[in-house]
Amino acid sequence: MCLNVRLRMIKFQSLLRQYWPTVALFAALLGLWQLAVSAGGIREYLLPAPLSVWNALWYGDIAWGQHLWATTFEIVGAFVMAAVVGVALGVAIAWSPLVANALVPFLVFVNTLPKVAIAPLLLIWMGYGLFPNMLMGSLIGFFPVVINTAVGLSQVEADMLDLGRVFSAPKWKIFLKIRIPNALPYILSALKITATAAVVGAIVGEFAASQRGLGYVIVTTQSSMNTSVAFAALVWISAVGLLLYGAVVLLAHLWAPWAEGID
């Protein structure tokens, strides 16, 4: 117990040693920014001071709660959809060469389309709402999951597969016991990309057409010149993005601790 506490303290100290430059740089930049705006007389609508942004985060006439909720819902939905569809397609590709031959060129084609250009189409097909934005996020984020899943499932030593053949293990058992655990670190590493892509997609969708969400808030500030609100929206967006990214990192730590430090 005592040793445990001590180890934790050592861990905390080493974290502190590793990250104090990050914190210090961030604080210094914020300080400089504040100083430049207040002492340099930069106008608020061009560049609001950090303190104004801070105020805009909590007060003002924006109903942050509902916008934050809408965007978070879109992002998480996009992430889950991309993860589920991506893993399913990856498994299908690794399972059957026929499926691989049919799907891969098609997926590559879909991936080369600039997703942003599809946003107006989604509006025409589905109208306003959270779902088209969610779809945009998952469209941008699913491809790396497909590829990494398929690669992770196939990167198994030939000798290990021979071992499976010696014991006449059925294909599903090889998938369950060898291929899928082997692919887990690959999938989790793709999900880190998907987490960021989901944020981009949701905001792009909101830019194209929306009545709610943090992207919508940013668009409206263009006409009102309320720049501090746009900055505040950016802070909220990055907070959601960071939380999602952190969740994936935590998941990787829990599910694939053996692969720590691979990427």
Binding site: D159, D162, G164, R165, F167, S168, A169, K173, P181, W258
Partner: protein, 267 residues
């Protein structure tokens, strides 16, 4: 039941490469008796590893017949244990769970094999490491775990493909000694010793371990010589210093290289 466990009759193997057909093995006739320890030595690319896989039924021979335990080998056969050059342990499984893998793959209840797995882990000197992950073990220890895995289902035949090839020289000698000890321990009055077919690059290793050393030539792989190693067992480190050891090693070296003179020592 016939005396031979492995019976290869004029086995050949040709495969298609981009440049045309390649003859990897030609006219291999080899019998290995029950409980015998036979090594295959030969230059790189002589098809020794392929031959091992043909015996296991993992690759088909393109001509000749392969029999194990009196039955023709047509597909992978279950009563073998395989050890490869790399330990290929599953990174996410503890040593114990890695050792239990064959039971799971063969559709048996792994719980029924826990005790045996524990015993094997103890016997190979890995006691205390059962719950560790592979990456927490050294290369030599990982290879011991791979040996435990191969022995789990108590197969009568062990196929070993350069199992110590990736280890440093000292660990390698140590592992050879360990392998002989384990091989000796697995045999008793009631239970016959395991038959071992052992592929290696090292002449010294082959001589030290084997009852017979089969020397192969380069592509296509053919049997150049089949030498009985009549060193007494159990063999100890001192066996390496025996006059017979040197004489046999030199003889194998000469067969391998075709050199009859020169001051070169074998590996």
């Amino acid at each position: 039941m016939n005396k031979e466990l492995i019976d290869l009759d004029r086995v050949g193997m040709t495969y298609e490469a981009a440049s045309g057909p390649v003859e990897a093995l030609a006219d291999i006739s080899l019998k290995v008796g029950r409980g015998e320890f036979v090594s295959l030595v030969g230059p790189s690319g002589c098809g020794k590893s392929t031959l091992l896989r043909i015996v296991a039924g993992l690759r088909p021979a393109t001509c000749g017949t392969v029999q194990v335990n009196g039955r023709k080998v047509m597909r992978p056969i279950p009563d073998i244990g395989m050890v490869f050059q790399a330990p290929i342990l599953l990174k996410w499984r503890s040593i114990l769970d890695n050792v239990l893998l064959p039971a799971e793959l063969a559709g048996k209840d792994p719980r029924a094999f826990r005790k045996r797995a524990q015993e094997l882990i103890e016997m190979t000197g890995l006691g205390g490491f059962a719950e560790k992950l592979p990456r927490e073990l050294s290369g030599g220890m990982q290879q011991r775990a791979a040996l435990c895995r191969a022995l789990l289902l108590d197969p009568p035949l062990l196929l070993m493909d350069e199992p110590f090839g990736a280890l440093d020289a000292m660990t390698r000698d140590d592992m050879a000694l360990e392998l002989l000890r384990i091989w000796g321990e697995t045999g008793s009055a009631q239970v016959p010793r395991k038959t071992v077919l052992f592929v290696t690059h090292s002449i010294a290793e082959a001589v030290f371990l084997s009852d017979r050393v089969v020397v192969m030539t380069a592509r296509p792989g053919r049997i150049a010589a089949d030498m009985p190693i009549d060193l007494p067992r159990p063999r100890t480190v001192e066996a390496r210093a025996a006059e017979a050891f040197g004489r046999l090693s030199l003889e194998i070296f000469r067969t391998l290289t075709g050199r009859t003179v020169g001051g070169v020592t074998s590996s």
